[in-house]
């Protein structure tokens, strides 16, 4: 991959990578570092990474960095997410999904984001995360059930 193609990667996928990292780490500053580190690794490995595989490579690096950062922070500081109360006037589905996403562990969250945000198939997610396709399928199914149950519980409250 040449510098020109690398710059295309920056223009095309920096935003998507940042959104993914934001949801994974929960902090914009951490996501910023993840994106910067991911592209730096891509630049260093550009001779070995084909342009067609660059996006998956970027998300692979970002996934590892995000999970590592999240786990590191959880070890240092335990922050309990404040429980928000739902009122009938606040039935925003997007916010509910964000809250439901925070209930997932970092790996399941990353899998859901890769599936929903980027539309990767199970096989591609397995390559990015280093899991087997069966593991991806099982973890994603668990995550989907948690999300669905959360939405159902909220709907019952509302």
């Amino acid at each position: 991959m040449e510098a020109k193609e690398y710059n295309v990667c920056v223009k095309e996928w920096a935003d998507a990578l940042f959104r993914f990292a934001c949801k994974c780490t929960g902090q914009a500053s951490d996501a910023h570092d993840v994106v910067q580190a991911s592209f730096e690794v891509l630049w260093q490995k550009r001779k070995d990474v084909a342009f067609e595989k660059a996006k998956a490579f970027l998300f692979q690096v970002a996934y590892r960095q995000s999970v590592d950062q999240y786990r590191k922070k959880v070890k240092v500081v335990f922050r309990e997410r404040p429980e928000e109360t739902f009122t009938p006037g606040n039935p925003d589905l997007k916010k509910m999904l964000d809250r439901a996403l925070s209930l997932l562990d970092e790996q399941a969250r990353a899998l859901v984001l890769l599936k929903d945000y980027e539309g990767y198939r199970y096989e591609e997610i397995a390559q990015i995360t280093g899991l087997t396709e069966t593991q991806v399928k099982v973890y994603l199914h668990r995550a989907r059930k948690i999300l669905k149950d959360y939405l159902v519980s909220v709907e019952k409250i509302v």
Binding site: N7, A16, F18, Q36, A100, R144, L151
Partner: protein, 298 residues
């Protein structure tokens, strides 16, 4: 096959878009048979996340790397570039003119060219433009003229260079016999003949780059020839006081001539640049690249 035990897995696979068309048909048929499960299917569909496109990475420029081979043409300071190009052009032209003047100066030693014997009936003098800005380039290397003096140790004496004008007969060293057969002053113009009359009784030999000795014989001293320079006089009249500075310079005439020509060339070039500049100011510039036109008006 979709059953009540595994239908949830199919619902999730359907929400993830991982079902094959055949499996999808099976699931839809199952849901038609069990319509109470359609709401669960809708819940799984709604549980999919959508990216928030308002979140964007704001520091992309820091990630961009320079691309090799990329050329940027700056048109913002094109006036500065134009002036710089004009100055560079002027320097190049001046250098060329100076070189030419220098070459003319070396050729302007009034070296007489001798023709082959078959052509010696025509004197060479008319072919030489004495002290002219455009001198016929000599195919031969200028050689020094020496006079053979009887009784001297070597029999060779150097002819004193003539002030202002040097009329020297240059004979190709490959044909020295010509000198013995034909008088040298036959090849010379009028002033050259005057010079050579002093040594007419002596045979003349030509040696290339041979160490010379000054003559002690006063009879062989060549009187200075004051030749008017009509062409350069005219130039001097035209240029007036501008050339007076050059004339006062403590250099020989050949270099002065070169400087005068250089000054004339620079003056002409400046005039041309001024006229071009005026044309650019008066008119607009139109650049046509392929099928696109760029018109710059002032």
């Amino acid at each position: 096959m979709v059953t009540k035990e595994n239908y949830e897995e199919y619902l999730i696979l359907q929400a993830d878009g991982e079902l094959s068309p055949h499996e999808e048909q099976e699931l839809l048929a199952f849901l038609d048979r069990n319509p109470q499960l359609k709401s669960e299917m809708a819940t799984y569909e709604s549980a999919r996340l959508l990216p928030d496109l308002s979140i964007q990475y704001g520091n992309k420029k820091a990630l961009i790397k320079p691309e090799s081979g990329t050329r940027f043409i700056g048109l913002i300071n094109w006036r500065s570039y134009g002036i710089a190009a004009g100055i560079a052009l002027l320097i190049i032209i001046s250098g060329l003119v100076f070189n030419k003047a220098g070459k003319n100066g070396t050729d302007n030693n009034n070296t007489a060219l001798n023709n082959p014997i078959e052509n010696h009936a025509n004197p060479i003098a008319p072919q030489i433009t004495t002290l002219s800005p455009s001198v016929t380039p000599s195919p031969h290397t200028p050689q020094k003229t020496i006079a053979r003096v009887p009784g001297s140790a070597t029999g060779i004496q150097k002819v004193n260079p003539v002030q202002n004008n040097i009329y020297a007969a240059t004979v190709p060293s490959k044909t020295p016999k010509h000198l013995h057969k034909e008088p040298v002053n036959n090849y010379l113009p009028q002033h050259g003949r005057e010079v050579m009359d002093a040594v007419s009784s002596l045979p003349v030999a030509v040696l290339n780059e041979m160490p010379l000795r000054e003559t002690k014989d006063k009879n062989l001293s060549i009187p200075p020839i004051n030749t008017s320079l009509p062409q350069f006089a005219a130039v001097a009249e035209n240029t007036g006081n501008k050339r007076s500075f050059i004339e006062k310079l403590p250099v020989d005439d050949v270099k002065k001539q070169g400087l005068e020509k250089l000054a004339n060339s620079i003056g002409n070039t400046l005039d041309q640049i001024g006229s071009i500049k005026q044309e650019i100011k008066d008119n607009s510039i139109t650049l046509e690249i392929r099928n696109r036109k760029l018109v710059i008006s002032f």
